[in-house]
Amino acid sequence: MKNYLKLTLLALFATAFAFTSCDKDDETTTAPAEPTLYERLGGAEMVDDPANQGQMIEAGRLALRGVVDSSIFVIAGDTALQPYFGTLLGEVGSGDLSGFSALSKNLTDFFAAAAGSENFTYSGLNMVDAHDPSKNSRMAMAADDAAFDAFIADVVVGANQNNVPDDILGEVGALIESLRGDVVQK
């Protein structure tokens, strides 16, 4: 019985030592991870959703959704982008999902995933196929650089309405700009 007790104690000390050693190694060799864009926007911390009383929403998603929603309003008023986003202004019945609701969710999911969210994923088409009229019948025509520039300008206007700091806006802009090669197909 005494032998079992000694063996158990020995095993406990050995395990504790091993974990302590691992901790030290981690501290000395692993640099602290750079916070993602999503984390800097508030991350996964749950906050009250100002648009939906009694509901909680991740702070990072709330920030991105604000920019997306404002940008969609700007895009809807931009006649240069009308051919690409006509569905936004099509009136639907009460049993149907409006273009605004669908686009808001889809774009917010996309930006949240791209910014580093762990709880939201984008399940739509990849950017190349989504913007290829031969593969996506909902793409009216291939986008050109002018349309993409107009889209970025509208997002900047939307972001400014939400007082997004310049450094964050720069990163969001860079994120969108990185998609130019996939989106512009004319």
Binding site: R61, F73, D78, D96, S98, S101, A102
Partner: protein, 144 residues
């Protein structure tokens, strides 16, 4: 006999307590889970000015539109002469909003009505056969 009734009573109480705990758990989950359905029933519409409005007209138009009950958000593109607004489907429609807008101010403007071709292919991310879209419609109908 009394013991039997006592046990039955405790079982019933336990069942009720269990249901309460489950209900509370579901409620907490529904309230705190990552969720984003706040504007599933939002509709966007636009009013186009016949010519670019001056700043006074633009300001008055925005104020007038914002003053219509049920209109949630307004964005003016003064250069393009477009006024975009959001409202809740089922409570208002674009025609009602426009008529009230015209009644409250003598604006030289008309409602924008997209062409059928725009509606059939006007947005690359909305695939009406997708699971996301169908789930969205399901939740909208559930809570409307």
């Amino acid at each position: 006999m009394n013991k039997k009734y006592l046990l039955r009573g405790l079982a019933v109480l336990g069942g009720i307590l269990g249901l309460f705990v489950i209900t509370l758990g579901v409620h907490i989950y529904m309230v705190t889970r990552p969720n984003d359905q706040h504007h599933m029933n939002w509709q966007l519409s636009r009013i186009d000015f016949e010519e670019q409005p001056d700043s006074l007209t633009a300001s008055l138009a925005v104020k007038t539109l914002k003053g219509i009950e049920g209109v949630k958000h307004v964005y003016l593109n003064q250069k393009a002469g477009t006024l975009v607004y959001g409202f809740e489907t089922g409570k208002l429609d674009a025609q009602m909003v426009f008529e009230e807008f015209k009644t409250k101010g003598d604006f030289k403007a008309k409602p924008y009505i997209p062409l059928a071709s725009n509606l059939s292919n006007g947005c690359p991310v909305i695939d009406k056969t997708s699971l996301t879209y169908r789930l969205g419609v399901f939740f909208q109908n559930l809570f409307s």
